[in-house]
């Protein structure tokens, strides 16, 4: 089966008119192009070296075509690790999903999925992360399925003690209590580590050298 070739965008023949100097001297010129584009409320400056841009040979003004816009989008996607329309399409196909199904999973409108797939809308970084997680991890899809099936899930947080998670009830995680002697947290116990972390949240590497009682009780040395 031969792959469908994307039709080349139609274009008026050059030279085009420059609306600044009103001369018909705009022709494709290879330049280092820089554009400022906004994504997720942040402005990104993108540099595209050596690309062909219609440029006025009289005043130097630039005209932006669809091809340049697509190059800018590619550069933005590469910079922010955003999935491309082709990648989204391929993943949907691989998982044998419809656009409607993916839209339902992600709680977006089907039109939004369609626009991501055609490249007429660039997904937000937040939505991109959800897409990547959805495509990358079968467990993520399973979790979403379970959430749909059981509306009670998530009402009460569950703590996985086997993975070292602690909750606010004060019970230490299993791994902290049973940790090996080489672990500085384990050497002096969980309560010690917790106290140090509360006092020095950014200097955890010095756990074993710090006695938190020294800092909890004021020391007067007059």
């Amino acid at each position: 089966m031969s792959a469908k070739k994307k039709p080349e965008p139609q274009s008026r023949p050059f030279p085009w008119l420059c609306s600044d100097c009103v001369t018909r001297t705009v022709v494709p010129t290879v330049i280092d192009f820089t554009a400022k584009v906004k994504h997720d409320a942040v402005i990104h400056e993108l540099h595209l070296p050596g690309i062909e841009v219609p440029r006025c040979q009289t005043c130097g003004d630039l005209a932006i075509t669809t091809a340049i816009d697509e190059r800018v989008n590619e550069a933005l996607r590469a910079k922010l690790h955003l999935l491309s329309p082709a990648q989204i399409r391929a993943n949907i196909e691989k998982l044998d999903l419809t656009q409607q199904e993916l839209a339902d999973w992600l709680d977006v409108a089907p039109e939004t999925v369609s626009r991501w797939m055609t490249g007429t809308l660039i997904q937000s970084s937040r939505m991109n992360k959800r897409l990547r997680m959805f495509f990358a991890f079968p467990t993520a899809r399973e979790m979403l399925r379970r959430l749909d099936e059981d509306p009670q899930l998530g009402i009460e947080a569950r703590v996985d003690r086997d993975r070292g998670e602690a909750d606010r009830t004060g019970d230490p995680p299993t791994s902290a209590v049973q940790s090996k002697p080489a672990n500085p947290v384990g050497q002096r116990g969980f309560a010690h580590a917790l106290a140090v972390e509360r006092i020095f949240p950014r200097v955890k590497s010095n756990y074993q050298d710090v006695d938190p009682r020294r800092y909890v009780t004021p020391v007067f040395s007059y």
Binding site: P9, Q10, S11, R12, W16, L17, S19, D20, C21, V22, A35, K36, V37, K38, H39, D40, I43, D61, L62, A63, I64, T65, T66, D69, E70, V72, N73, G119, T120, L121, I122, S124
Partner: protein
């Protein structure tokens, strides 16, 4: 500022917009392009051209014909500019354009140059 009602100018403006799929009929200057990508981020240039077409030709959206009073270049090279305020992707935007040719006697095909895009 007055709504463009001149049938000849309106016809030429619409003619340029109907060619939105063909490069060179709706030309975005670099400043306008950056305005587009910061005002309605995520909306590609080709979608913008189509949105202008829909606004004017399908929704009968308003085009303001504005006599050019700015006396500096390149604005003073043009007798009028044309302002549109379409809503694209849920955002109302101000679009400043120039229509070429200004003269009815010209045989050139009409084309629209987008010079400025910002929130309306």
């Amino acid at each position: 500022m007055a709504r463009l009602t001149d049938p000849d100018i309106l016809a030429r403006y619409r003619h340029a917009l109907t060619e939105w799929k063909v490069e060179g009929y709706i030309v975005l200057k670099k400043d306008a392009y950056e305005g587009l990508r910061t005002t309605i981020p995520g909306v590609p240039e080709k979608v913008f051209g189509e949105a202008l077409y829909r606004f004017v030709c399908e929704e009968n959206g308003e085009i303001d014909q504005v006599k050019e009073t700015r006396n500096w270049e390149p604005c003073n090279r043009w007798e009028y500019h044309y302002d549109l305020r379409p809503t694209i992707d849920g955002v109302k935007v101000y679009v400043e354009t120039r229509l070429y040719p200004e003269s009815f006697s010209s045989r050139d095909e009409p084309e629209i140059h987008v010079v400025h895009i910002k929130p309306a």
